[in-house]
Amino acid sequence: MNSVILVSIVMTLVAAATPILLAALGELVVEKSGVLNLGVEGMMLCGAVAGFAVAYGTGSTGLGLAAAALAGIATAMVFAVLTLSLTANQVATGLALTIFGIGASSLIGAGFVGRTIERLGPVFPEALAGHPWLRVVFGHDVMVYLSLALVLAVSLFLRRTRPGLILRAVGENDQSAHAIGYPVIGIRYAAIAFGGALAGLGGAYFSLALTPMWADRLTAGRGWIALALVVFAAWRPGRLLLGAYLFGAVMTLELQAKAAGIAWLAPEVLAMAPYLATIVVLTMMSLRRGAGRLDAPACLGKAFTAS
């Protein structure tokens, strides 16, 4: 295999992994605080359509990304108010958020179907970004570097800082954290907002970087794969990075096989690959860990009321 193909495979892999990594990293922080937000797919779609609409209207992808993060936060806040302040069931509310995101994005996006915008370009100058093999390191757009920096930041935040410790305490034992005097609900609001912002950015990566064109439901279930990745990573940011790039590889394989036109394998079968891989990975994780979900934050998914 020549190096040109190898370089292009790596570039595709990184691009495919980045939106899932962003969304999953946000969800990881949310789950560490003890909240299960199943609305990742919905928040991603809202971010995708807000980002596209603003980028299309203003011609600025930067403003588009900002709008995507804000849209993600706004939809996440609906979830937060319902589950934290009104103590609604987290699973049901998360599902509602996803159904809402699908509906809202296709309603708002109806006028944009088929429209194109300028793709989010590489950060570094052409000499580096266009270099035949140096572009493996320098040829990516700003979101790729941001996502990697965020993995490091979240990892350090959770393990090395006091606020990170408090956030984990809230997720492991909300009643004790409350008794010591930490604002459980406030901390969870903040975590959910962070998760919403990253999901929004992850969604916008689809509409601004991967396919700079609006299509209905363009995230195609990647939000759910992000949720699975958090389990796969056993709630550790470092392993999340590994998992996201692994999934990037599976999706690149799918694209490469399609491009190569392997006759005996139907394209529909290839399209199943990421979803089947998710099931296989979740199963293998459980096999290795044995029974029980020892890694999950103890208060994950439970409603909190101060007593």
């Binding site: 199943l38 609906v78 319902l82 009104l86 103590t87 609604a88 069931n89 699973v91 049901a92 509310t93 599902l95 509602a96 159904i99 809402f100 699908i102 509906g103 809202a104 296709s106 309603l107 996006g109 109806a110 209905d216 195609a220 279930g221 759910w224 949720l227 699975a228 389990v231 139907a266 529909e268 079968v269 399209a271 199943m272 979803y275 089947l276 998710t278 099931i279 979740l282 199963t283 459980s286 096999l287 029974a291 029980g292 979900r293 009321t305």
Partner: protein, 354 residues
Amino acid sequence: MLEWRRRREPSRSMLYLSPLIAVVLTMALGTLVFTLMGYDGIRAVHDIFLTPFLEPQRWPDLGVKAAPLIMIALGLAIGFRANVWNIGAEGQYIMGAIAGTGVALLTYEMSGWWILPAMALAGVLGGMAWAAVPALLRVRLQVSEILTSLMLTYVAVQALYYLVRGPWKDPDGFNFPQTRMFTADQTLPVMLEGSLVHLGIPLALLAAALAWLVLEKTVAGYGVKVVGLAPAAARHGGFSADAVTWASLLAGGGLAGLAGLFEAAGPFGQLTPQFPTNYGFTAIIVAFLGRLHPLGIVFGGVILAATYVGGEVAQTTVKLPQAATGMFQALLLFVLLATDVLVKYRIVRRERSA
């Protein structure tokens, strides 16, 4: 000053009233949202929610859309009661249709009364098989059924595409990606001349009555409730959480599969790539709107069916995009979850402390 105070016991009257409050609030909120988006909001909400009920010629369509929603939601509700979150009903619905269509294609040149029951049986088994995977993985390995059942939905959609574009493509169909039309022996009998009202509608109501009997009047139904509300008590009482997981997923898959087969052998009359219509997801809203109660689900199914029928009306009258229906349905679920607070809390006047 007013303040929220937690009730000692959930309010029974609010339990039944809050879905109605939610419907009214959603109508108000929908009017506001659609007006802000530049449509005639009052007319839009009127058409979505009221026209389907006010114009008798739309009632058959209401029934046709409500039947699959009710059937799927009944199965989901059993699981939701037991904290088994099967959200892949859409996949089980598609698999049921695929399995039933397989029988239809095998019996293409045969005739007989037995063909349709055989297709229905295949539909049930197809849906059950698709739900058995999440059940097995959850019971044996504690893998979240939420994620596996949903992933399998995407797999089912691709399987459908593969079949209608490939091996099952109608040989006389001018290369369109669709199967043969089903024969008369393979199609659900029409109950009302000149409409699409099929046998599935009375059967959905029958299923609701059966589900009510099982859930409310048998020990097994009680077991489902106990496992959901108090897992530890269930263990002491001898109810097996694993058995409930299996039973609720298989029941959910079977009902969704049957609904899928009815849709294929009824309104569609064949399989096409347009077959997945999101009924499996909308049924989640139906289950919650019906308070996970079989009779409530019949009410919920009719309301959500109205949003489909009325959504089509609003497309022509106020040029509302088709996607508006989906957003409106989600809005209803949000409002419903919010009004749940009325069940758990009450508003009291705060006494002024001197």
